[in-house]
Amino acid sequence: MAFGDQYRKWNVDREKVPSACGLSGVISQDGHMISGDVIIESMGVMRDRGNGLGAGYAGYGIYPNHKDLYAIHVMFEDEAGKKACESLLNENMEVQEAGEIPTSPNPHIEGAPLLWRYFAQPREDIRKTQEIGAEDFMVRLVMNINTTVSGTFVFSSGKNMGVFKAVGFAEDVGAFYRLPDYSGYTWIGHTRFPTNTPGWWGGAHPFNILDWAVVHNGEISSYGINKRYLEMFGYQCTLLTDTEVMAYLFDLLIRKHGLPLEIACKVLAAPFWQDIDEEGDPAEKELLEAIRATYGSALVNGPFAVLVGYSRGMIGLNDRIKLRPLVAAYKDDYLYVASEESAIRQICPTPDRVWAPPAGRPVVGELKGDA
């Protein structure tokens, strides 16, 4: 099963693959390290939410020995792409360590591309000439590689975190990437049910830019306008899956525009005019009206439940009329969020509290100390 450009030709550059699926996530807010097999076990309960055509995970805190370097995960269709990509990387970054991402052969995972990771930091001399910060520099570099190097995709580009994804069922993908070898304070996982032909490796979740990793259950009806809005700010949607816009929207609203997390969620899952009109506090009403009027093109419409990981924590969010399931639970300092309660109960049999977050209101877990 090939991937990349072959599928893109078939799909024509524009088609997007809708997402349907199951997700699960856990964070230890005290910073306890959780082994990767925990998230695999949780995902296993939701096997029927996927169809084996894609699954993936993101772990945070998994590269303690390279905490301050960008851990760049790349998939290559062939050596030519790898060469071109590495050349671009070396031009722009100081690569401290490079190597294949460790994998275990798995009978259910076929057609794997070349999977490499690079621990690197931006070359100061190059960054300074572009007059942008390190993070914008990384975003620009990733967009550049993904749009210009054929058959090559950077699928993870954050610090001390990594995305691992493939075509297959969640348990197989987890085993393939040897996730039990890693431990992290946050894990999110996803299993996919794409209805458009390819499960191709790039299309699996999580979608990532910098340290944002997004897994998504649902389909974004507003994708066409979300994408055009993001393109105005230099983001390129190349991965043919609507979830991509979620990752970039979080990056744009929170990192670039500096909106508080709760407000960013109000942009994406906007409150209804009916509720805004009933708001008693005039300053709050003014804020909500301004949010809807200014950020209409960033409103994410259609059913969605998303889990977003970032360096400091994890966010769970539903669309404004809760068309997709999302359940949350607490036990001590651990926060769990998943599509089904059973996925949580598999790894946390006796939670302190279980509840369903209401539509449009984020459930957030954050590290109490440093990342």
Partner: protein, 500 residues
Amino acid sequence: MPGNLVPGEFLVDIDYERCRRCKRCVLNCGFGAFDFKDRTVADSSKCVACHRCVAFCPEDAITVTRNPLAFRENASWDVNLRKMIWKQAETSGIMLTGMGNDLPWLNVFDHLLIDACQVTNPSIDPLREPMELRTYLGKKPAKLKVGKDDGHYRLETPVAKNLKLDVPIMFSPMSYGAVSLNTHRALAIAAERLGTVMNTGEGGLHKELYPYGDHIIVQCASGRFGVHSEYLNAGVAVEIKIGQGAKPGIGGHLPGEKIGRDVSSTRMIPVGTDALSPAPHHDIYSIEDLRQLIYALKEASGYKPLSVKIATVHNVAAICSGIARAGADIIYLDGFRGGSGATPTVIRDHVGIPLEIALAVVDERLRQEGIRNEVSIIAAGGIRCAADVAKAIALGADAVAIGTAALIALGCRVCQKCYTGNCSWGICTQRPELTARLDPDWGAERLVNLVNSWAHELQEVLGALGVNAIESLRGNRERLRALGLDSTTMEILDVQPAGR
């Protein structure tokens, strides 16, 4: 030689067995096509097929048909072209006409199909679930700054005044003078009830309508009719009219016959004179002049949202980029199908470009330049039904404006004789015996019904698309597919062909 070489277009036939000689047709026809000499007699040459007589005949005794006079068919020489030449040979005048382009140019809306959700995404029930159409027109900030004050989030970015519409449909500018005062009254009452706006057009605003100011955009056109400081502050926004779709590049023309006392005092010109608007604003010869006028008007109106109305011509994208940078808050795009009370036929039918294409290129250009948030776009010129509204919004419009459709709701048959001032329906006339026929409250109700129907239909479309807020359709070309358009047009529209 016979004087009139041009045969009448229509034939009026009276069924004398049904006719009960009530003379309603005689009274109702604004064009004098009926007379009564011991029985009702019709002069078909005067008939314009406005159907007023048919609508009011209690016995259904009148039929109006096309004059069946046969012409040799000729694919090159359409009958109308032959007639135009006869008329021009007689008078050496410019052919004048009313309403919008009636030639069979390709209609892009009719080649666009709308998506619907199935299986992978649920459609939404607009009857039972929320479906939001509220729209704000005006300048928006590129981003918001939100601070925290005493535990609550507070907006720190100043936000410019915007126009709030409950539905993304407004009434197009139609001047008092071109249309009757009762028409303006009906539009104002309807705009208020619907939570949208009407537009004065270039004829000023009658004093009586000042109380509806919150639902009126006041227009400043090249003739500056009725433009004074009180007027500029009367409405909720100010619009500079540079051009209109029916006559790009030329000014308005209101014949002296239509300038009665009321029109004269509203426009502030003498009774009986022709009201000719110059082709350009004579203080706008280049883009920086536009900026100058924009700010002059903003100063005079307390910085209300400022709209600039243009006809869609070849370089409309570049023009709009300039207009946005000149300080406008709203750009009103009038496509080549836009209507008018009086316009030269040659201009109406052959000048300008389609609204759909203009919308697509303007929206895209503003995005490319990163300034799409600086202006809202209103699309007008041949918006005929709720499907057109949905497609216009998907191509990038913030809202649409309807002119012809609104007049049709009031009874107009699109007979294209508006410039005569003889409108039997009392819409585009100033003759008091005719204007009395349009009851503003009745008219307002019809307009409210029309816009409400379209709003509900729009909600049905949104529901099928699986979105519950209009902003998720706005600019979302992904939800359109083209059928039967050539590949270049599709590329320009940035719409995929059905099947992809």
